[in-house]
C-alpha cells in the first residue's frame, strides 16, 4: 500500500489537487499521509480564517507558502449591533505586514469585521504586484486617503468592494486616482461612502473598463446621471443606484428607462435611497430579468412596492422593508416562484408609534412559505408571531437552511395563545433537517433549547436573545447540536454550570459569545485554566474583574478556540483567562 502513495509524481498529485477547492476537502487530503500533506500545502492557493485570532500569520505562512487568496474575519458577529466595545481588536495589520514579505504574489484579500488602516492599504498597494481583489465587508479604520493608494497603484485591480464598511470619507477625489491606463475593473461597490465621487472621473472609469459587471454606487450619485453612466456600460450585470429621486423631467425618465432596457444582462438592482415612486417605472423593463433586488432602503408604500416586485417573476433574492406588508408578500408568493431568499427589515424598529405603522404580521411570512417552494433563507422582522404560524412555515418549507426571526419586542409570546414560542421553533428544527443557521426571538423557555439540541443536527450558527429559564437551556444546546460552530447569546439566564459541564464542546466550535448572562468571573478563570486551547476573554468595562468578587457576573464573554495562544493586542477592558489564572488567587 505504501508504494501507491509514491506511485504518482508530485506534479500529478498537484494537478489532481488543483481541482479540489473546498477547504474541508483540502484539509481531508492533507491528512491522508505525509507526502500528500506536503504536496497539498505547497499547492494550496486559497485560505479562509474564520477567526483571525485562532491562528497567527506566521503559522499560516509557514504551512502554506504559496497562497494567492486570503479571507479573514475579525470581530464577533454581535459587533454589528454595537455589543462589542470599540477597540476590542480585529486588527489586520500584523497579517498584512507578514504577508507583504512572504506572499509577494498575493492576489486577493477579503476581510470581514476587521480594522484596517490607511497604512495597511498603502502596504497592500505597494507590496502585491498582481493584486486583484479587495473586499472589505463591515470593516473600519480607514479613510478615502487609503483608497487613493489602492486606486493609484493596483494596476490589475479587478474588484474593489467596500460593502457596509465605515470609511472616513474626506472627499470623492480618490476615484480620480485610477490612471487612464487602468482598464481592468470588474466590480466596484462604494455604496457605503458618503461623499460625492467625481462624476466625470467615474464616467470615464466605467467607460474604459470593458469587463465591468458590478457597479454599486453611493447615495450621492444623482438619478439623472445614471442613464449616461449606464449607456457606457451596457454589459452591466449588477447595478446599485444612488438616491432614487429626481424631478423626473420626461426626457430624464425616458433616458433612464432606455438605458436600463439597453442593459440586457442586468439581473441585480440595489440602492433606491429616497425613492420617488414616480421614478420607479423606469426600471420596469428589467423586472423579468431580475434575480436579485434590494429595496431595503426604499421607503415607499405597499402598493408601489408590490407593483414593482410582482413583475419580477424570476426573482431569487429579495430584501425589502416591512412597508411591503402582508398584502405585498402575498403577491410575491403568487408571482415570484423562484424566490430563495427573503429579508424583511423594520421601517420603525424603535416603535415610536404605539400602533404598528405597517400591516406586516406573521401572515406575510406564512404566505411566502406556501407560495415559494424554493425559499430557503429568511430574515424577518415583525411584531407578532404564533406557534401555529411557525409550525405551518416549518411544514411548508422543510428545505429551509437559514431562518432568522426577530420579533421586535423581547419575550413576546404567541399572540393567539399567549404561550411561549417553544413549539413553533421546535417545529422549525424538527422539519428543516438541513437548517444551518437559526436566530430565535419571542418568549422562549428551556424547552425550545431541548428541541434544538435534539433535532438541529446540521445547525452551525445559533443566535439567542432574552430567552430560556436556566442553565439547562444552554446545556441542551452544548450537549446536542453536533455541527454547532458559532453560538451567540445575550440577556439569557445561562451561567456557570452549563458552561463548565460542556467545556470540551467549546473546542469543537469556532466561538461562543455571551453577554448580559449569568457567568461568573470564577467560572471564566476555571475555564481558561482547564482549556489551554481556548481563549477565554472577559470583556468588562467596569474595570478589572479581580476588583470584584469571583461570583460576580462578567459583562461579556468571548470564547474561541485557538492555536495561537492569548492575543497580545487586547485593550484595557479585555482580559484573557489563561493557565495562570488560578481560582482563588486574586
Amino acid at each position: 500500500m505504501r508504494r501507491m502513495a509514491y506511485s504518482f509524481p508530485e506534479e500529478v498529485l498537484e494537478h489532481v489537487f488543483s481541482f479540489i477547492q473546498s477547504d474541508n476537502d483540502r484539509n481531508s487530503i492533507s491528512l491522508v499521509c505525509k507526502s500528500w500533506y506536503e504536496v497539498e500545502r505547497w499547492c494550496r492557493r486559497k485560505i479562509f480564517v474564520g477567526n483571525c485570532y485562532s491562528v497567527c500569520p506566521s503559522m499560516v505562512i509557514k504551512r502554506f507558502p504559496e497562497v494567492r487568496s486570503i479571507e479573514l474575519k475579525g470581530k464577533p458577529h454581535f459587533a454589528d449591533f454595537n455589543l462589542v466595545p470599540e477597540g476590542w481588536g480585529g486588527y489586520v495589520y500584523p497579517w498584512i505586514t507578514a504577508m507583504a514579505s512572504s506572499y509577494p504574489w498575493l492576489q486577493e484579500i477579503r476581510l470581514k469585521r476587521m480594522v484596517i488602516t490607511d497604512d495597511c492599504l498603502e502596504l497592500i498597494a505597494k507590496s502585491f504586484k498582481n493584486f486583484n481583489v479587495l473586499v472589505l465587508s463591515s470593516c473600519e479604520g480607514f479613510s478615502t486617503d487609503g483608497l487613493v493608494a489602492i486606486a493609484a497603484n493596483c494596476r490589475n485591480l479587478r474588484e474593489l468592494d467596500l460593502r457596509e464598511s465605515e470609511v472616513e470619507d474626506f472627499n470623492g477625489h480618490w476615484l480620480s486616482h485610477f490612471p487612464d491606463t487602468y482598464t481592468s475593473l470588474v466590480s466596484l461597490n462604494i455604496s457605503c461612502l458618503g461623499s460625492e465621487v467625481s462624476f466625470s472621473a467615474l464616467e470615464r472609469l466605467v467607460g474604459r473598463c470593458p469587463n465591468l459587471r458590478t457597479l454599486r454606487l453611493n447615495r450621492a450619485v444623482p438619478l439623472d446621471r445614471i442613464a449616461n453612466l449606464l449607456s457606457r456600460v451596457p454589459q452591466l450585470v449588477e447595478l446599485g443606484t444612488g438616491a432614487y429621486s429626481s424631478e423626473m423631467r420626461p426626457e430624464v425618465f425616458s433616458n433612464l428607462a432606455g438605458a436600463v432596457t439597453h442593459c440586457k444582462q442586468l439581473s441585480s438592482l440595489s440602492g433606491f435611497w429616497d425613492v420617488n415612486p414616480a421614478c420607479l417605472p423606469a426600471v420596469y423593463p428589467t423586472c423579468t430579468r431580475l434575480t436579485s433586488l434590494n429595496l431595503s432602503y426604499a421607503t415607499i408604500q405597499s402598493p408601489e412596492l408590490t407593483k414593482l416586485v410582482s413583475q419580477c417573476h424570476n426573482l431569487q433574492c429579495l430584501w425589502v422593508l416591512d412597508y411591503i406588508e402582508d398584502s405585498g408578500l402575498e403577491a410575491i408568493a403568487a408571482s415570484c416562484k423562484d424566490l430563495r431568499e427573503l429579508r424583511v427589515f423594520p421601517s420603525d424598529p424603535f416603535g415610536v408609534e404605539v400602533e404598528p405603522n405597517v400591516s406586516l404580521t406573521e401572515q406575510g411570512l406564512v404566505s411566502v412559505s406556501e407560495g415559494c417552494s424554493k425559499l430557503q433563507s429568511v430574515l424577518y422582522f415583525c411584531r407578532q408571531m404564533s406557534n401555529a404560524a411557525l409550525i405551518t412555515i416549518a411544514r411548508n418549507r422543510p428545505n429551509m437552511t437559514r431562518f432568522r426571526l426577530c420579533i421586535i419586542e423581547p419575550r413576546t409570546p404567541d399572540y393567539l395563545t399567549l404561550q411561549p414560542l417553544d413549539m413553533g421553533f421546535g417545529a422549525i428544527v424538527e422539519h428543516c433537517k438541513d437548517l444551518q443557521r437559526l436566530s430565535l426571538s419571542g418568549l422562549l423557555t428551556d424547552r425550545v433549547f431541548e428541541y434544538i439540541g435534539t433535532y438541529a443536527n446540521k445547525l452551525e450558527m445559533l443566535s439567542v436573545a432574552f430567552a430560556g429559564d436556566s442553565d439547562l437551556g444552554l446545556h441542551h444546546i452544548l450537549s446536542g447540536c453536533e455541527n454547532l460552530r458559532k453560538l451567540e447569546i445575550r440577556d439569557c439566564p445561562f451561567g456557570d454550570k452549563a458552561l463548565l459541564a460542556n467545556a470540551a464542546k467549546l473546542e469543537t466550535m469556532r466561538s461562543l459569545w455571551m453577554s448580559s448572562c449569568s457567568v461568573s468571573y470564577g467560572a471564566c478563570k476555571l475555564l481558561g485554566q482547564k482549556m489551554p486551547r481556548l481563549n477565554v476573554e472577559v470583556i468588562d468595562e467596569r474595570g478589572p474583574p479581580d476588583s470584584r468578587p469571583e461570583s460576580c457576573h462578567v459583562e461579556k464573554l468571548y470564547i474561541y478556540r485557538t492555536v495561537a495562544g492569548a492575543r497580545l493586542d487586547m485593550p484595557d477592558f479585555v482580559w484573557t483567562m489563561d493557565e495562570d489564572s488560578a481560582v482563588g488567587l486574586s
Binding site: N82, G87, C552, E555
Partner: protein
C-alpha cells in the same frame, strides 16, 4: 375677528385629568405596548458603553443592540425622518369637557379629515361650514389659536397655512363663538 381671549385667562381654567402641573400627553387609559425593559442581570450595573451610540427615542428604555439592526440602516431612517417634517401635535380642548386631547396635524390631509377626527374624538357634529357664515347648525365651533395669539375660525385660511400657524385647537361653544366670523 379677534376675540378678547386673553382676558379670559384660559390656561387657568383648563380642566383636565391628571395632577396639576402635569401634561396630559395622550388619551387616558391607553396602555402602551412597550413596557420598560431592563437588562436582566442585577450585577451588571451598567452595560452601556460610552462607545455605543444608540439613537433611541427618549421614551424607550435603553436596550443596547436591540432590535438587531446595523447602524447604517438606522441612519438611513433618521435622515428620512428629519427630512420629513416632525409630527405636529396640538392640544384640542372642548368647552365643558374635562379633558384635553392631542392630535397630530401632519396626519390629516385637509380640513374635512381634521374635522371628522375631532367629531369622532369628542362625539359631536361640526355642522356646515361656509365662508360667509362660519359653522351653521352646530353646538360647537372649531377654532384655533394662531402664532400671533389670535383665535381664528378653523377653515378660513388655506390648509398649509393653517398647519404651520396653528398652536392649539378649541371647540368653542356656539354661543361664545359669535365673535368669530368669516370675512376679515
Amino acid at each position: 375677528m379677534m376675540m378678547l381671549e386673553k382676558d379670559l385667562n384660559l390656561d387657568a381654567t383648563e380642566l383636565r385629568l391628571g395632577l396639576p402641573g402635569t401634561q396630559d400627553e395622550d388619551q387616558p387609559a391607553v396602555t402602551k405596548k412597550r413596557p420598560l425593559l431592563h437588562t436582566n442581570q442585577t450585577s451588571n450595573a451598567n452595560n452601556i458603553s460610552s462607545h455605543q451610540e444608540e439613537i433611541d427615542p427618549p421614551s424607550k428604555a435603553q436596550l443596547v443592540g436591540w432590535p438587531p439592526i446595523r447602524s447604517y440602516r438606522k441612519n438611513s431612517f433618521q435622515t428620512k425622518k428629519s427630512e420629513a417634517e416632525a409630527a405636529l401635535y396640538v392640544k384640542v380642548s372642548m368647552d365643558g369637557a374635562p379633558y384635553l386631547r392631542k392630535i397630530d396635524l401632519k396626519v390629516y390631509k385637509g380640513y374635512p379629515e381634521l374635522l371628522k377626527a375631532m367629531e369622532e374624538m369628542f362625539k359631536f357634529k361640526v355642522g356646515e361650514y361656509c365662508e360667509r357664515e362660519g359653522y351653521n347648525g352646530s353646538d360647537y365651533v372649531p377654532t384655533y389659536e394662531d402664532k400671533d395669539g389670535d383665535w381664528m375660525l378653523v377653515g378660513d385660511v388655506p390648509w398649509d397655512m393653517f398647519t404651520t400657524s396653528c398652536k392649539r385647537l378649541r371647540l368653542m361653544k356656539g354661543s361664545e363663538a359669535k365673535g368669530l366670523g368669516c370675512g376679515m
